[in-house]
Symmetry: C2
Subunit: 219 residues, 2 copies
């Protein structure tokens, strides 16, 4: 059943999270395929990015540079890109009843800037409310893996970006923050053990998506 | 007497504000000359900008583009640039006892985004505290002019940037916001009638600076 057949109902916002090398690209394609089997053709997008301007902000964020970026600069650039992405792409799509599948969103900010950089969670939470009001993802899939394994994979892909250059300790804090968020709201968060074989990862995703879809279609 | 002779005392932070075409460049050169006569060689900088990264953010802010920039994106980009400018340039200079003379600062945000775009002042104030803690300029010179006259001058300078393309109504609100801020704290703010002849404008600045310097040197 396609939600898009009813332009008056609000769409659904699904985000996918995880540290470097966790297999996000492959698994997002699989999540999309799961949605397709329900007749849903989601808007595919990513953060930071998703619009021309937000992609320009993404480039500022990821590019390694001589001038060290202040932590507050990083946090505000991320939310600036997010405000633009929401205003120009995500909210209009949801308002039209479309489903949106987004590679990373605000959970990444809690994980990377809150966990990784140890920034104050209440600062992130205040910016979240400022930029998103009460908009939160309907479902967050967190792909979870040992940072050692993920980083090994990610570093085979070529030049590391500004985040990929971080230490193993950093990514351990990021992972812990993701896990903590998942544990606080097990209905809205789906924690996927992405260290298993692709088959098993896909099975976990499919089962979790089926449970979400049956809840969603029941409401 | 140069403040720089005593590296243990904190420097002084002076900002210059005003709408388009008010003669900021000429008058900032004059303010610098006034400081030089007291033996002070200020760090010259500007907002948005002041560091390589902040200048890249400035370019995003000023460039006219097809994709309309959300107001919240603009506000967060401005504070992102400011956080970087403070961390990498302004605060280190002040900590070393240097004086900093900055072309625009947070009063411009209250005037352009608060006044011009009618964004909530409490939102700006919250971001100000987040990014600056209790750092505020020691002296703000506001160059005040009828927006009609200023815009006429500014538009002779070539292609207008994203702000210069705004309406006269917008600049009237910006000016009113600047005037309101000046009236609330006449000690810290110096409102200069920049519609007069250059001689008279320079005389106002010189007199105001002399009063500020005598207060400053007395403390």
């Amino acid at each position: 059943m396609s939600n898009q057949s009813n332009p008056h109902s609000r769409g659904c916002f699904i985000t996918v999270e995880g540290t470097e090398g966790v297999g996000k690209t492959t698994n997002i394609a699989w999540i999309r395929q799961c949605l397709t089997s329900y007749g849903i053709d989601p808007v595919m997008t990513r953060e930071p990015g998703g619009t021309n301007l937000s992609e320009e902000i993404r480039a500022l964020l990821l590019e390694p540079r001589e001038e060290p970026m202040a932590e507050m600069t990083e946090l505000l650039l991320i939310f600036a890109a997010r405000a633009q992405h929401l205003a120009r792409k995500i909210v209009p799509a949801l308002d039209q009843g479309q489903w949106v599948l987004c590679d990373r969103f605000t959970d990444a900010t809690y994980a990377y800037q809150g966990g990784g950089r140890s920034l104050d969670k209440s600062t992130i939470s205040h910016l979240e409310t400022l930029v998103q009001a009460d908009l939160r993802p309907d479902l967050v899939l967190i792909l979870d893996i040992e940072p050692e394994i993920g980083l090994q994979r990610a570093r085979q892909r070529g030049e590391p970006d500004r985040f990929e250059q971080e230490t193993l300790q950093f990514f351990r804090r990021v992972r812990a923050a993701y896990q903590e968020r998942a544990s606080q709201d097990p209905t809205r968060y789906l924690l996927i053990d992405a260290g298993q074989s692709l088959d098993k990862v896909q099975h976990q995703i499919q089962t979790g998506m089926a449970a979400f879809m049956s809840r969603r279609l029941a409401t």
